[in-house]
Amino acid sequence: MTTFTPTHDVVAEAQAAGFFPPRHTVEITDARALADRVMRLTFRDPFIASHAKPAQFVNLFTHDDFMLMPRPFGVSEVEGDEVSVIFAVIGHGTEQLAQLKAGDTVDVLGPLGRGFNLKQDANYILVGGGLGVPPLICAAQKIASLAGSVATSVIGYRDERFAEEYVSRHTDRSWSITNAEGNVVDLLNQLETSGDLDVDGLKPVILSCGPLPMMKAVAAWAAKRGIPAQLSMEQRMGCGYGTCVLCTVDTVDGRLKVCTDGPVFTREQLGWGE
């Protein structure tokens, strides 16, 4: 059953100031290829820049009227009033977005969804795979600004370390691995063995985003050790802001909306690794 309680605190904030910004057009300020079929797009949007939290996402819209549905992407970095996303070219929508250049415009709605819960002082272990990395970059950036917490990143790539530069910009403790070398659970095991799960007495909390099998393995690994884990989910969406119930995920509380009940869920909610 869907919860109808607003859980989207950014929205609540925005509402206090009037209404939430509707879909609007923004200017692309930077567009670059990070790897084969992986792009980073930056646009100027003061509202999103000042409100976005790690694992929140934005809906981008193509200029092609055949493709009206939103393309959701996690916010990967915020600098001043500029917001970046990093995405893989998958189908026609991302193909078209990949052709945008600085100076072009794109329509956007956001920030959307509930981000990671970073209220606790902790060693946040950012476990990402592939295109699950962008929200973790954002998390690393945020945690770096928090007094009581530190971040450790553990990233798996398919073949190329395309986001390494952005991850390591925001955290001193970063490890990565490609498919050919192993997987993120191998890295987590190394962290455990070397005693690096706790840092400066801070307990580990896992924040994870990536392919489903990876996240399930990470949740199981965390559950076995009693480590809290927050997992950022993906689902095909209709609206991205909670109006259509097209984006559900099965949880112990029933079918919840990825867009507004998530995208972040705890491993307990998902019933993973119990």
Binding site: D65, L68, M237, T243, C244, V245, G254, T260
Partner: protein, 322 residues
């Protein structure tokens, strides 16, 4: 200006956040809407939309299909995209009529909305249970959805069988004095047949169209994208089909109030439905692409009607263009 108004929310001259006096009301089955534009069921959640605009500004809001008990709907993925369209297979997930009466409905009424409560069912009994509970609620109108293509039992089959529909209406009609709107499916050979059955058995108004049966496959895997395999097509692509449904029904049934639905993403398209013979319209998929679409469309239409006093006068009097 592009034909696709949704992608140009910023280009048009209407600022939906500016205070506005509505100039052109309509009347549907005796109920006055402050403007002819409502939201379509399933694409409006008060909890989601209230951050974007004041819901009392709309002509009406049709709420998500409501069943006797909570329904969990279909598995995900529930959606795919078509050219200029959306496909959905929610399967009527909703928290049930009791939750609706305790939570959504009172909040909407407190916010000043005119509420069309959309009723879902798998069998006659389901519909009856929901209508019984809504009969003395604060809902302004009831919209009986006999046209959902995404549930296995009931739903669409009632809407495609005029005999079953007549029998359902015979049961529901005596249960309430509230205006009963019957929502019809385009997935039939001749929509005027179920339309006539509904009207002859007590419908106060009709709404049309619900979604068309459709499907997409992923050519990377060769498999259906939606877990339910097929889904319902809506959005701009279905506009001409909805217009034809309204026009033909208006021709067959000159007096029944009709709410036109399907592919509306601009005031101009809403106007086209009014010319086809609708008394009002509901906006569905456009709200997925642009949260404020229903209100923007209402504002655009309000201005377009300024230059059409004859049409506007007819609507205000509960009559239609044709």
């Amino acid at each position: 200006m592009s034909e696709n108004a949704t992608t140009n929310a910023n280009d048009n001259h209407i600022n939906i956040y500016e205070a506005h006096e509505w100039k052109h009301p309509t009347k549907v089955a005796g109920v006055t809407w402050k403007n002819p534009v409502g939201t379509a069921s399933g694409t409006f959640q008060y909890a989601a939309v209230r951050w974007f605009y004041d819901v009392s500004e709309l002509g009406a809001v049709s709420t998500k299909g409501c069943s006797p008990v909570p329904w969990e709907g279909n598995q995900s993925p529930r959606t795919a995209e078509g050219p200029a369209s959306n496909l959905n297979a929610v399967g009527l997930q909703n928290p049930g009529v009791d939750h609706y009466l305790e939570d959504d409905l009172p909040k909407l009424k407190a916010a000043g909305a005119l509420v069309v409560a959309n009723v879902a069912g798998h069998c006659d009994d389901d519909y009856m249970q929901v209508v019984a509970k809504l009969a003395d609620s604060t809902a302004d109108m009831l919209e009986i959805n006999v046209s959902c293509p995404n549930v296995t039992h009931g739903g669409m089959s009632v809407g495609t069988d005029p005999v079953a529909l007549a029998s359902l209406m015979d049961k529901l009609r005596p249960m309430t004095d509230k205006p009963l709107v019957v929502k019809l499916t385009p997935n039939v050979t001749d929509i005027t047949v179920p339309a006539r059955a509904a009207v002859e058995h007590g419908a106060d108004a009709l709404s049309m169209i619900n979604t068309l049966l459709g499907m997409r496959l992923d050519i990377r895997t060769g498999e259906p994208i939606i877990a339910n395999k097929t889904g319902g097509v809506s959005g701009p692509a279905v506009l001409p089909i909805g217009i034809a449904a309204v026009y033909r029904t208006r021709t067959a049934l000159p007096d029944i109030p009709i709410i036109g639905i399907g592919g509306i993403d601009s005031g101009e398209k809403a106007l086209e439905y009014l010319y086809a013979g609708a008394n009002a319209v509901e906006v569905g998929a456009a709200a997925l692409f642009d949260p404020v679409a229903p209100l923007r469309i209402a504002r655009e239409l309000d201005d377009l009607l300024d230059a059409r006093p004859e049409l506007a006068a007819k609507l205000a009097a509960g009559k239609t263009w044709r």
